[in-house]
Amino acid sequence: MTLDEILVSLFPDGHEVRKDDGVVAGTATLRSGGRMLVIGVADRTALGVNEAIRLSEHVLESIDRGSGPILVLVDSDSQRMSKRDELLGLNEFLAHLAKVLIHADMNGRPTIGLLYGHSAAGALLATGLATRVLVGLPGAEPAVMDLPSMARVTKLSMEALEEKAKSTPVFAPGLSNLEQMGAVHMIWNDAAPLASQLEALLADMPAAHDRRDALGKQRGGRPKAADISERVRDLALQVR
């Protein structure tokens, strides 16, 4: 689905969401009558310092003046790979965006990510993975690392990597792999109105606390993460 189709299907009662140089921002009316902040990255735009500061500005303004949940639409490239972005401290700008989203979520502005295109690496961490619930749309193509880069570093052929990817979701790109990890909570049906799926999710939002490791265990993608983090937590609480 294109961004326009998604916005129309999500918000049949109207929206004022605009796209400017790959940065998406605005507000929309929910079926239930409430308002929702919408931000995002479109057109497979790389997330650099300029994009990150604009996005976090929208969220911070909305924390001050707005209300309602926050939707983060994601069709991005990776983080912007450039000398300028790193020189200026891209890690701080991406972390800032993630922090602003996490803070909003913890303070009455529940966040939902909607991954409808590509995303990768630092861009995904600062957007979709910084939300409480990350939803995928069929056709989304997240790739934490792309297979050609992986082939170069691991010195394995593409064929060998593709063969291994059949037996594990742990490294290869793809929406269903991220779903098995617990990163993507659910995949929506793009043949049905997105508005009703959004309303259903908002009516039944999971608690703010991070259960992605437990999801990853349930779905078989991450056999150890939930148990290890739980054990360390328990041991740490005992020594105080």
Binding site: S56, E57, I63, M81, S82, K83, D85, E86, L87, L88, G89, L90, N91, E92, L94, A95, H96, A98, K99, V100, I102, H103, M106, A121, G122, L124, L125, A126, L129, A130, V144, M150, R152, V153, T154, L156, S167, V170, F171, A172, N177, L178, M181, G182, D210, R212, D213, G221, R222, K224, A225, I228, S229, R231, V232, R233, D234, A236, V239, R240
Partner: protein
Amino acid sequence: MTASLDDVARAQRARRTSFNEASARTRLELMLDAGSLVEFIGPEQREVSPHLRIFDLPEQFDDGIVVGHARLEGSPVFVAAQEGRFMGGAFGEVHGAKLTGLLRAAREIGSIPVLILFDTGGVRLQEANAGELAIAEIMRAVMEARTAGAKVIGLIGGRSGCYGGGGLIAGCCSALAVSEPGRIAVSGPEVIETNRGVEEFDSRDRALVWRTMGGKHRRLLGAADVFADDTVQDFREAALELIGLVGAFGPDRLKAEHERLAGRLRRFGTCKDAVDIWTAEGVADAETVPDLPADRFIALADRIGRTSRDAR
């Protein structure tokens, strides 16, 4: 008084030991009060990565990270130290989950600071999806711990630097100390060169790498609050200083951080090189900054006075 005698011996060794060259375990042993470290899920438990076997790669019994409880100048701290020589210190499923669990305990207790000794290239490629998600969980856990009152201090001076998602976690910390060899960035030099060409970034130009991503630049930008000389003892002192300086987290900090970063873009957004930024900051002979010894550099950075205090 044996404990204090042990600590004198520890401090002597810590002063002679390069943080950069030491292993994760040696860093902890020499940085923390003598004999105080209690490790959680240590190597004897053999909780190795469940994924490296798919690639026929060797495992490490602690999956490249030590987490535990210890004392610093008598006060309790939680600590995590990445081993930068094992798979570049990269985040895998188990490695990341140990840090997540530690931060979740810090959130519940609220008053015990967390020291993270970063030494990482970012996500472990062979388990990229699990590593990426582990980083996302850690970022969330850092912010929850800080919101609950815990201070989370990042110490960066290892061989693998603090790259990729490690750089984003560092950006979530309450404060950072960095040494000259401690590089902080998202994309590594080779990654930029591979994707954008050698004209964009020449990864073999080491001087360019250091002045773009290295500790001195990060300190002058105010991205790190303390510059440590490359000894374990200096990092211990930096950690103590930062624990003393950091205040409580709140929404005002995010607004201040926004102003700090937006101001940086306005001021330096058109600079082509770190030397241009340092010159714009009023550093005379900015091109000599990479050669300054630690004491003179610290004096310079203090005079410029840019920090992220109360603004991160």
